[in-house]
Assembly symmetry: C2
Homo-oligomer: 110 residues x 2
DNA sequence: TTCCTGCTTGGTTAAATTGCCAAACAGGAA
DNA sequence: TTCCTGTTTGGCAATTTAACCAAGCAGGAA
């Protein structure tokens, strides 16, 4: 792999890696609806607040969200909502998987 | 987080995780052009063939590719080409990042 | 049968990720 | 000032991931 290509793929992988966690996907989906502070997100995710804070810093580090402190809360906002379009495709993969499983099961049952 | 939601997000995260590696992104992009055998992909990636084989099994396990043995080669095929549409969005995030960096640099230079 | 080619799997090591607790920290209220 | 609330950071242990080498395995050729 050429070096120029390598850093391109690394940059892309970094963003995917940041998204590739159940709690972070939940956070992304919620932030797509409206901005939220750490407290609110913590209640939704159901982990320790320090864990959620770290998830948010992963998302921020990847450029997926921005944060802003107002009064005594830190509000997080999704930076690119197109991120969620992708979920449709992920669902397609999952559906295709399910279809295959069905076929395999059928062929076993015969 | 409810249990039903949890397994949904876990399923999605699994697919993203499978994609979230530079070599695997390269493989996905190449397989989007045409099917390839392990040997060919190994040459493109530039790692040990066992490493590439393991990357392919990660992709296969996530339902992103299928494999078929013909003559003495195992050919891998991309299962959902929509996967790559997502890259456009990833690029948008990267572009937004770059824009921000520029702004920060400018404000420092002032 | 034995050899060779293409690929996968096992083993090992190093590095990264995750989650919690505890501690620190910032800013407003008392 | 001290306290309280919201958030981040440090530290640690458990788990996962990644890469290589070596060994194994399947199938065709000799």
């Amino acid at each position: 792999m050429k070096n120029t290509d390598k850093s391109l793929y690394e940059a892309r992988a970094k963003i995917l890696k940041a998204m590739a966690h159940p709690s972070r996907l939940l956070i992304i989906e919620e932030l797509n609806k409206t901005e939220r502070c750490v407290n609110e997100l913590t209640a939704m995710v159901g982990s320790d607040i320090s864990t959620v804070s770290k998830h948010l810093s992963v998302l921020k580090n990847a450029g997926l969200v921005t944060d802003e402190k107002r009064s005594n809360c830190v509000y997080y906002t999704l930076r690119c909502s197109c991120i969620l379009d992708f979920i449709d495709c992920v669902e397609e993969v999952l559906a295709a998987d399910a279809e295959d499983h069905k076929k395999i099961l059928k062929s076993i049952m015969k």
